[in-house]
Each structure stands twice: as structure tokens, then as C-alpha cells.
């Protein structure tokens, strides 16, 4: 594809996104909650689409397509398992986050944990873990954009041009009006991602196979191995486990549970996201299978999608390129916004408790700029395969899962249990990843989660729970019944 087209498409998309972000600022109020979580006034469609666009990133049309290209239907199983557990966690924890966030005016998930465990260090530690793990994940979004731009233009447009344009765009969207501009652009980007990829998929069915049915017949005849589930159990579980808990452990998505305006919008958010995820996952894996059938033997599986795009008419290729670029931009913007809120509310405000609301927003904006610079540097280093790097981020965040689940369900859960579990599980997971050591063949997240759970329960049982833990859970159960999330006749939520 001509490099000029790629550059023009990026510019066009940037202008549209900037326009939407600017429009989102109208009607924006003052204060940290307004900036970081849109004043808890988002409607169902925007909430659902910002959740989807934050979750589904460049990984889907670059990493997942590559994974399917390389190892077949197991990639669909991995991604669908993630979706199944995300829906399940949203049903159980969505109302809990939403209710507690409203009652106690929480803005970040670590803030909620710090309050429940009556210990600020729990909030600080979860914020630090989020920083350490999410910066590589955010960098992956930049790498995805860089690889795509470079691959699509036949190497004419430099990798770093894609990286820098995307960093600038997501930075603008997040800085301009915080969650409002991020969520509005996310909604637009989510629709763009879905429509463009669906159009491209059907074009390819007809252009290369004649019809979708013919594609299925051809795949079964020519690539039967890709339809067999050949993943080793340890690989499947190791890759899937951290993603299954993604909805709970990744603050950029759990923070979105604070934003819906009313219960109906929370409900719609969950359902719109679920349907979006289901369709988008199928589309991505079908792209991977198509690429494997059309261009076998690529050295780097992550180049499968750019290869596929180079085979379609320029106009269509550009549209899909915009869709992928949109996916990466929205995820990056959301992560940067969330991390900046964590830095402002859970780290700086801890050091300087009298920091004003305006000051918190200012600190958050400064943090955004620094974070984007760090992510761009990380992308410039270009570490290994995209899927593995993304999985490492979620693997590290997995150590927060027992503390989050325990906060809502276990009255005995203590601050010491939460702190010890994360302080042991985090470094162990990181060391196993960094040394590439898989004891007994099992992946680091499996060991990390096992150890974390053990320490969480063990230490909690040996220490006293927070004074108001019982009251916290009882009031939450009452609120759940009051709002119709659970049946009235039942004692517990």
C-alpha cells in the first residue's frame, strides 16, 4: 500500500478523534471524579463501548490473528474463555463495584481496596503493581500500531511514526476532557473497529473463496490441523488464567464499573460489551484462519494481519487499518487515564492528603504525559511476541485477584493478608517470567495465583480483619437487595 495513503489515513482518523474529544468537553463539570470517571454520568451505550474498546485492543487484530495463524482454534478457545469469565465477573462484581463506588465516592479501584481493608498501603501497593504491569501492556498497543503502519506501507513509514502519532492522539483524548473524551472517542472507535473488520471479513470471504460457506469447506479440506485443538493443557491454562481474571484485576476496566449513570446503564454496559466481544472474537480468529490458508509459512505470525491487508484493495485496507489503529488508541488512552488517576489519588494524595480536587487533576495530567513518554520508549525497544507480553501484564496483575474477591465476599479478609499475598505473589510471578522458568511445566501466573491465594487466606486467618469489614459487606448486601441485584428473600448477596 502507498505510504502516503497510510499517513493520510492516520491524519484523517486523528482529526475525527480530536473533534469528538473536543465535543466531549462541553458540559463537563469540575473536580477529580468528573475528570477521571466522567462524573459517574455515562449512559449504557457509551459505557459498554468504552468498556469494549478498552478491553479489545490492537492485540485482537494483530496478536490474536497471529496466534490463530500459528496455532489454530486453540486461540479462539483462549479468547472465548476470557470472554465467558469476564461476563461472569461483570455479573457478580459489576453491581458491587458500582454500589460501593457510589456510596463511598471512590474514583479508583485501589481506593476501594484501601477503604475496605482500612489500610492505605493496600491502595498504594495495588497502584504500584498496576503501574509496573500496565506500562508494558500499554507499550504493546504502541508496538501494534508501529508494526502495522510499518508492515502496511512496505517498510516505507517508520515504525516509530505509528508509535508517536498514536501516543500523541491518545494523549490528547485523555488530557482534553478525561474520561468524557476518552469514552466518547472509545464509543466511536469501538463501532469503527466492529464495522470495518466485519466489512473486511466478508469482502475476503467473497474475494478469495466465493462465499463464507466455501471458506469453511476449504479450511476443513486444506488446513484441518488448525481446526484441531492441539494446545498443551499447561499452555492453554497458563495463557488463559490471567485473562480470565482481566475484568477484576485490570484497573482500566474495573474503574469503568464506577461510570454508569444508573442500574439500567450498568446492565446495558455488560450486555453491549458481551455481544461486541463475541462478534469481534469470531471475526479476529477467522482472519487468522484465512491468513493461514492464504499465506502459509510466515516467519513472524504477528505479520499475518498486515499481510492480509496488503492483499485487499487499498480503500478497504485503509479502513481496516483505521479500525486497528482505533483499537490500539482507545486502549492506550484508557490505560493512561486510569494510571494517571491511580498516581494522583492513590500515590500523591497519600503523600499530600490535603491535595485539592483541582490539584489532583493537574497531577493526573502531568502523569499522563510522563506515562506516554515511558510507553513510547518501551515500544521503541520492541520486546518479543505480542501475545506473550500482553499475557505477562495480566499475569502480574493476577496477584490482586484474591484481595479483590475477598474484599467483597470474605469478612475475615485482612489488610495484612492482602499485603502479604501481593508482596509475595507479585515478585514470584515477575521473577518466573523474567527468568523464563516454568516449574513443572506450569506458567508463572498459575504459581503466582496459587501462592497469592495461599498467603491471602493464611495470613488473613492469623490476623484481625478490619473493624468495619463486617459492616462494609452487610451494607453492600443490603444495597444489592435494595437495587434489585439479588432477590429480596435471600439473606446474602
Amino acid at each position: 500500500m502507498k505510504p502516503l495513503f497510510v499517513v493520510l489515513a492516520m491524519l484523517f482518523w486523528s482529526v475525527v478523534a480530536v473533534g469528538i474529544a473536543a465535543a466531549a468537553r462541553r458540559g463537563m463539570g469540575e473536580g477529580a471524579a468528573e475528570f477521571f470517571i466522567g462524573g459517574r454520568r455515562l449512559k449504557g451505550f457509551v459505557s459498554g463501548m468504552t468498556y469494549a474498546a478498552t478491553t479489545y485492543s490492537a492485540f485482537m487484530l494483530v496478536g490474536l490473528v497471529g496466534l490463530t495463524y500459528d496455532s489454530g482454534v486453540g486461540a479462539l478457545g483462549f479468547e472465548m474463555t476470557y470472554l465467558i469469565f469476564t461476563v461472569l465477573f461483570l455479573l457478580v462484581f459489576g453491581p458491587r463495584f458500582w454500589l460501593v463506588g457510589r456510596r463511598f465516592r471512590h474514583i479508583t479501584p485501589p481506593e476501594l481496596l484501601g477503604h475496605r481493608y482500612e489500610n492505605r498501603w493496600v491502595a498504594v501497593l495495588t497502584a504500584i503493581i498496576s503501574f509496573v504491569m500496565l506500562i508494558p501492556y500499554a507499550s504493546v498497543q504502541l508496538m501494534g500500531a508501529g508494526l502495522l503502519v510499518n508492515g502496511l506501507s512496505g517498510g516505507e513509514v517508520p515504525f516509530m511514526a505509528g508509535v508517536l502519532v498514536m501516543a500523541g492522539l491518545s494523549g490528547f483524548c485523555a488530557l482534553w476532557a478525561g474520561m468524557r473524551s476518552v469514552s466518547w472517542t472509545d464509543a466511536f472507535q469501538a463501532v469503527t473497529m466492529l464495522v470495518t473488520s466485519l466489512a473486511a471479513l466478508f469482502y475476503m470471504f467473497h474475494a478469495f473463496y466465493g462465499s463464507p460457506a466455501e471458506f469453511f469447506v476449504t479450511m476443513e479440506a486444506e488446513n484441518p490441523d488448525l481446526l484441531r485443538f492441539t494446545w498443551e493443557p499447561a499452555y492453554f491454562i497458563g495463557l488463559t488464567l490471567p485473562w480470565a481474571f482481566f475484568a477484576l484485576t485490570n484497573p482500566q476496566v474495573s474503574q469503568r464499573l464506577f461510570v454508569p449513570d444508573r442500574v439500567i446503564h450498568l446492565k446495558r454496559m455488560i450486555l453491549y460489551f458481551s455481544v461486541f466481544g463475541f462478534i469481534y472474537t469470531i471475526i479476529s480468529t477467522l482472519f487468522g484462519l484465512q491468513a493461514a490458508n492464504l499465506f502459509p509459512g510466515l516467519d513472524n505470525p504477528d505479520q499475518a494481519m498486515p499481510h492480509l491487508l496488503s492483499q485487499v484493495p487499498s480503500f478497504l485496507g485503509l479502513i481496516i487499518f483505521i479500525g486497528i489503529f482505533a483499537a490500539a488508541t482507545s486502549t492506550l488512552g484508557s490505560i493512561v487515564l486510569t494510571l494517571s488517576s491511580l498516581f494522583s489519588r492513590d500515590v500523591v494524595k497519600y503523600i499530600k492528603p490535603d491535595l485539592s480536587e483541582k490539584g489532583q487533576t493537574r497531577v493526573g495530567k502531568g502523569a499522563m504525559v510522563c506515562l506516554l513518554a515511558i510507553c513510547a520508549y518501551f515500544a521503541w525497544l520492541r520486546p518479543g511476541l505480542i501475545a506473550v507480553l500482553s499475557s505477562m501484564a495480566s499475569g502480574g496483575l493476577l496477584v490482586m485477584a484474591p484481595s479483590i474477591i475477598g474484599a467483597f465476599f470474605w469478612r475475615r479478609a485482612s489488610a495484612a493478608g492482602a499485603l502479604c499475598s501481593m508482596l509475595v505473589g507479585g515478585p514470584v510471578t515477575a521473577v518466573l517470567y523474567l527468568t523464563d522458568y516454568y516449574p513443572l511445566g506450569w506458567w508463572p501466573p498459575v504459581w503466582g495465583l496459587g501462592l497469592t491465594t495461599l498467603f491471602f487466606f493464611g495470613v488473613s486467618l492469623m490476623t484481625s480483619p478490619p473493624q468495619k469489614a463486617d459492616q462494609f459487606i452487610s451494607e453492600l448486601e443490603e444495597d444489592l437487595r435494595e437495587e434489585g441485584f439479588v432477590r429480596s428473600g435471600r439473606r446474602k448477596g
Binding site: G77, T81, V87, D225, R228, T281, T285, F409, G484
Partner: protein, 60 residues
């Protein structure tokens, strides 16, 4: 959903999600095997979510 119900339902779902493809479908080279299974299982969970959330927001 009670904590214990959630735990058992989640574990049961994980078992079905992992074991069915490994035991019965792994060697079948068709779209109608593992591919279809995971699509249908996910769809069932989404429909279940739709049913489960129907009464949300109807205050006591």
C-alpha cells in the same frame, strides 16, 4: 449470587470449557467441533447474563 455459589458455578464452567474440547473434540478437524463448542458456550453465557440482569434495578 452468594460467594460459594459463584465459586462452584465458576469452577464448573471452567471444567466444561476446558475438558469438553480436550476429551471429546480435540482431534476433530471441523468447524463443528471445538470452534462451534466455544462459540455456543459463550453465547449461552451471554444469554444467561441477559436473563440474570432482567430484574436489576427493580427496587424492593
Amino acid at each position: 449470587m452468594k460467594g460459594s455459589h459463584f465459586l462452584f458455578f465458576g469452577l464448573g464452567l471452567a471444567m466444561v470449557d476446558i475438558l469438553v474440547p480436550y476429551i471429546w473434540l480435540a482431534d476433530e478437524p471441523y468447524f463443528a467441533a471445538s470452534f462451534l463448542f466455544w462459540c455456543l458456550l459463550t453465547l449461552a453465557v451471554i444469554i444467561g447474563a441477559g436473563i440474570r440482569t432482567r430484574k436489576w434495578g427493580k427496587k424492593r
